[in-house]
């Protein structure tokens, strides 16, 4: 990636080594105008602390909730987010894009 990121992957390693439950979320596919490129990371701990981003802030809340489940179960999950008004009760991307996010536990 060309743009500089704060060091999310280093944080994931440090958090895990400090004994926290940690999950890593990665943007694996995008369609249309997606706010963050493929490969972007969000790191989440079992207390709901997070660093980084997978969207412009639209879906991070939902990813964090799912990530806490993944930390508990250890089963990776793939999440999909689309436009906000598609299903009113779901969070979505107001930019009109669609993204797929892979969430895995750091073992």
């Amino acid at each position: 990636m060309l743009a500089r990121d704060e060091d999310i992957l280093k944080a994931a390693e440090d958090w895990k080594k400090a004994g926290r439950g940690v999950a890593l979320a990665t943007v694996v596919e995008t369609w249309g105008s997606a706010p963050r490129p493929i490969g972007s990371n969000l790191v989440i701990d079992d207390q709901g602390n997070f660093l980084g981003s997978v969207s412009g802030g639209c879906v991070e809340g939902a990813v964090v909730t799912e990530a806490i489940d993944v930390i508990e179960s250890g089963k990776p999950r793939t999440l999909e987010f689309g436009v906000a008004d598609e299903t009113a009760w779901k969070v979505g991307l107001s930019c009109g894009g669609k993204i797929r996010v892979f969430v895995e536990r750091v073992e």
């Binding site: 080594k17 890593l24 990665t26 694996v28």
Partner: protein
């Protein structure tokens, strides 16, 4: 992701080496491929393509559907000569994501007024360049027209594996430079063949800013296009 993979990944990134994490979408298995090991990897061609473009993504392979997370160090642009061309080349480099440093021992040139937002080191290249670290993800450009300053910079660059070396000067100037680099510093024709001179893409540039465009274009080509 396994902690040992994450640990190795962060070590490679800290050492400014390219690395790819290959995650199988069906089985969930993960492995780390270091830049040095790509040549021997069954997914060599796909991995090389992704490293070159610095893009992560999904690929269909004989191993199944895999997600490649690509980590390539951010590139550096090192320029000798706090000259007119550098005044536009440096900010262009920054816009393209390069970590830009200008080296010029002449303090009158290397002033903050002339380069408000760029790292400028008022020292000789043989001192400054090793400290900056000229590595594979570095482009080196010699722009002073002064052999006393450009030659020691070229010396350091030619001994490194940086991805681009360019030197300003006419064909005549370059011919004299080649003679000096051979006679005084012992470089071979092969070494000297790495130097782009005349510098920049041939787009008829006239002004210093246009020359900067041709240089940054040539650097981009060296970074992204497969050598022919």
């Amino acid at each position: 992701m396994r902690l040992d993979i994450l640990n190795a990944l962060n070590e490679e990134r800290a050492a400014r080496r390219s690395v790819v994490v290959v995650t199988n979408q069906d089985s969930g298995t993960q492995r780390l491929v270091k830049a040095a090991d790509i040549g021997a990897d069954p997914l060599k061609a796909v991995l090389e393509k992704h490293i070159r473009s610095a893009k992560s993504g999904i690929e269909e392979t004989p191993e199944g559907k895999v997600f490649l997370t690509v980590h390539v160090p951010s590139p550096k642009l090192v320029i000798t000569g706090a000259v007119h061309i550098s005044q536009t080349l440096a900010p262009m480099g920054q816009l393209l994501g390069y970590d830009v440093t200008i080296v010029d021992p002449r303090t009158a040139f290397a002033s903050i007024e002339r380069f408000p937002d760029v790292k400028v080191i008022a020292d000789w290249p043989d001192v400054a360049l090793p400290a900056i670290g000229i590595d594979h993800y570095t482009a080196f450009v010699a722009l002073t027209h002064d052999p006393k300053i450009d030659d020691p910079g070229l010396d350091v660059a030619l001994k490194s594996d940086c991805f681009y070396i360019g030197a300003l000067g006419s064909r005549k100037t370059h011919a004299r430079r080649v003679e000096r680099l051979k006679a005084e510093r012992g470089f071979s024709d092969n070494d000297i063949g790495r130097i782009h001179s005349p510098i920049g893409l041939d787009i008829g540039s006239v002004s210093p800013a246009e020359i900067a465009v041709s240089i940054i274009g040539e650097i981009t080509q060296a970074l992204r296009q497969e050598p022919t």
